[in-house]
Symmetry: C2
Subunit: 264 residues, 2 copies
């Protein structure tokens, strides 16, 4: 599996991906899921992928080779929307080529891409592109996308992130979201690729790979576990005494009755 998350915020974008692939528990490998497309101060896109690796690598290869669809590729697309269309068309070309053979082996055509960035003169934009080649764009109300093993790392994003969140806080939040996933699911693994983009820069602000030895990430994950335990301990305990039953944690104004109890 895979976990990738990207946020498109007022001040820029954050992309974070793991690098583990697996086909069963005994076939584990490390593959980069992030790739950056950069044309000097004209456009910069970051793409992350999940799903069948043979599919996602083929799609990536077409994009890297600059293959044109109706005359358009990532380098000459007029808008980020048009660039996302290029990614979608590359997916459809791989689908046309491989789906029948995959299905005959009982394998679904399965791939997902997060694609985003900025073309000079346009705002920064983020897209979630599906196996069918169609896609949705993020908005200020729904400003992040996840692909792969998304559930473990979703609560922290839902609790902390909004469109006005700073890039620093968003980066920490993405790293914690990833760490929650790493801790609870062995199909997601280090190293991580992190890309932070400041809007209108049209160049990488930060693009680094983070492994087990990275001091900041090690500090963050240790500190986080510790702080979580601290706050949960600092929150007032439910008090089980009869009096508190009535006030703190009680059935009063409860719309269901007591828990069904069968006695013998």
């Amino acid at each position: 599996m895979t976990y990738c998350v990207a946020l498109c915020l007022e001040k820029g974008m954050v992309f974070l991906s793991d690098t583990r692939t697996n086909a069963g528990v005994d076939a584990i490998g490390t593959f980069r899921k992030m790739v950056i497309f950069e044309k000097d101060k004209n456009r910069l896109f970051t793409m992350m992928s999940s799903g069948n690796l043979a599919i996602t690598q083929s799609v990536k290869e077409m994009l890297i080779q600059g293959q044109k669809f109706d005359g358009v590729n990532l380098w000459n697309a007029k808008s980020s929307y048009d660039a996302a269309l290029v990614v979608g068309k590359a997916i459809r070309e791989v689908k046309a080529r491989d789906e029948e053979a995959l299905n005959s082996s009982n394998i679904d055509f399965n791939c997902n891409f997060i694609f985003g960035g900025q073309i000079k003169g346009e705002k920064h934009r983020l897209f979630n592109i599906y196996s069918a080649g169609n896609f949705v764009e993020s908005t200020p109300e729904t400003c992040y996308f996840q692909i792969g093993e998304a559930k473990y790392g979703k609560p922290i994003l839902d609790r902390v992130i909004n469109y006005e969140t700073s890039l620093e806080l968003a980066t920490k939040c993405a790293l914690i979201s990833m760490d929650s996933t790493l801790k609870s699911n062995i199909s997601v693994g280090l190293p991580l690729d992190l890309m932070v983009y400041q809007k209108d820069a049209i160049e990488k602000h930060l693009a680094i790979s983070i492994d087990e030895q990275n001091p900041y990430f090690s500090m963050l994950r240790n500190l986080w576990g510790q702080k979580l335990t601290e706050i949960i301990m600092s929150v007032e305990d439910p008090n089980w005494s009869e009096q508190d039953h009535q006030t703190k944690i009680s059935t009063h104004s409860n719309r269901l009755g007591p828990i069904p109890t069968i006695e013998n």
Copy 2:
């Protein structure tokens, strides 16, 4: 969907379940997923269920009716293990009755139960019982089970819980695990049923239903979101300056190279 979690700890047990069922987004209902079986100071079991409601209700009905399998039911089973076998056999009886008809409608035979408690003279024990009627028991190393929408609420458990955790802390942690799930997945919903059991008591320590109006749960969920944001803000930001690149968040000793960048 459903989310249920149970912890079997040194000092006792905590069970927590939601009450939402859904068949698609337009067929949402409230059904209790927790039931308690109690025989005065002799035995006390708590059972929670997920999966197909028609199946889980049938299984529950057989257990409530005291149906015997090879002469054994929940009221006369000699051990909690034997009681878990009774639940497994009830599942198999429903399976024998309904599976063919379900399959002919392209519906899987799908149910999961968490079942645990204590019989006088034996320690408190917790089981995760599958659709096939087989089951596993928790251990001090793996002291909790989840069924249903388990992923959202797993990271907090993995970070905080161990076998020595107090019942108060475990209860708070289960409530936060549930709240993370409620916040990120609309197929899980209030009210909640909470049962706390102190080992060797062979009676309910606390068995309450928690709805939107419950003051303690409201306080906990508001406070938690706020505290999470506070700690994440209090953690040192990654510093993007060139110098700090080399020390705090850098590629040094990284086992992968830089993120692949395609230039044009």
